[in-house]
Symmetry: C2
Subunit: 266 residues, 2 copies
């Protein structure tokens, strides 16, 4: 049984609390938060505290607070030589105070407050300063059904960046499609199956192999037609830049000239 103390009460902390609580091989010894109110409702299930001096001894302390607060909270911990980890994708292991043995336990998923999380679908990126601590992280990842990957700080930061592309930027592509189709009173429902299919396809196939469409085919007639259809200048820029990017990836020489104005086109 591994004893865990959670620090913080945001999305990641709350989801980890639920997942660890449901596991037989992890005991949540204490839950700390700066504001007691945020975790008060759990006081019958675990020991909740808002005072760092009350922290007990545990196998691992998981700091799940906002990126900017991690370094400072790690400094305030009233002990040393214990095992502390943060859960951030972008903060370095070395931002944790070095009086303790440091590590990272980064679940790569987009956490919403309300939606339940099935941790069996959440890859956890783990990193430790002291090799002997790695097994603890593997054990608690497995306890909540997650796959774990040993990842360096540099790799984790690159993953965090990659996640922005596949999550935030992809979601913005959905948003733009929503705007464009809304403007013509088209039901966004029609596009939802294609959104799912596009994500499903790359589960078994590389994005390179999965690519289709007018940019990849270098179908100039359709490319020009599409550009004419787009009214918003920023959406035009995105259309041009993404088309250029696809054509570069697939070794196609034809490119939109990004500077050329529509009214100069034939």
């Amino acid at each position: 049984m591994i004893s865990v103390i959670l620090l913080g009460a945001g999305n990641v902390a709350s989801h980890l609390y639920n997942a660890f609580s449901a596991s037989d091989s992890v005991e949540i010894k204490q839950w700390y938060n700066r504001s007691y109110d945020a975790i008060k409702s759990f006081e019958n299930d675990t020991e909740v505290i808002d005072d760092l001096s009350q922290l007990k001894e545990a196998d691992i302390y998981i700091i799940a607070v906002s990126d900017d607060a991690i370094a400072n909270l790690s400094k305030l911990l009233p002990f040393d030589n214990r095992f502390i980890v943060h859960t951030s994708g972008s903060v370095s292991l070395h931002d944790l105070d070095k009086k303790n043995s440091r590590g990272v336990f980064y679940p790569l998923q987009s956490f919403s407050k309300d939606a339940e999380i099935d941790f069996s679908t959440v890859p956890i990126c783990i990193e430790t300063e002291d090799k002997s601590r790695l097994q603890t992280l593997k054990t608690i990842a497995e306890a909540i059904g997650s796959k774990h990957y040993k990842i360096s700080t540099e790799q984790r930061q690159t993953l965090h960046l990659s996640a922005v592309f596949v999550n935030n930027f992809t979601n913005q592509m959905y948003r733009i499609a929503h705007e464009i189709s809304d403007a013509k009173s088209i039901n966004f429902e029609i596009l939802k199956p294609l959104i799912l299919e596009t994500a499903n396809k790359v589960q078994d196939m590389s994005p390179y192999m999965a690519q289709t469409g007018p940019a990849k085919r270098n179908d100039k007639k359709t490319l020009k037609k599409h550009l004419k259809l787009i009214k918003d200048e920023e959406h035009q820029d995105i259309y041009k830049l993404m088309t250029k990017s696809i054509q570069k990836t697939h070794g196609i020489k034809y490119r939109f000239d990004i500077k050329r104005k529509n009214n100069n086109e034939r």
Copy 2:
């Protein structure tokens, strides 16, 4: 029983052939293709022909050939006053020869040659010149389990454009993430659950509501860190443009200055 004659032997035609064959309410009367070889293997199951003069009478003729070939094939049909449709997202109804009653039967999905298609997940956009023909298209869509949506030519062309955003451009986002993470020897597997989650989220929630991340939070520290991490100039441009687009959508004033060079940044 509705009698259908298929023209063409590409992805859409082949998938429609399979779906109609499995249905009790549609009879495939003939399958025409310019090259006999492509459909020869079906000659025991249906009447396959490569000569337009052999075309029989049917309730509907479905022209599922490449966009550029549609108009010409419709001209070559040796009859008039019958019901003909094409299956393209971008070709106008009026590109079909007007000697016949015209329509469109556009399945909005990304078709691969090999992957089996479950038509119950494929929305079909239907359009007819003659209102009385609409029911025929509804019936054959329902026969293969598809939802159908009545869509004008202008709406269909806008949908086709929107599909480029949610399919091709999204897939290119996956590709860029693949490149970025590959360069640091990161297993792309780690990103796959997030790709699925991002697509799943907008099935029940608008893309606007689903957005998260550093651009939406206006987390300048992370935005700058990410830009520094990106080596490829085109990927930097995409990062900046998509960040700007997200911030515009969410009414955030801070924007990367696209023209500002990295080395002028502090």
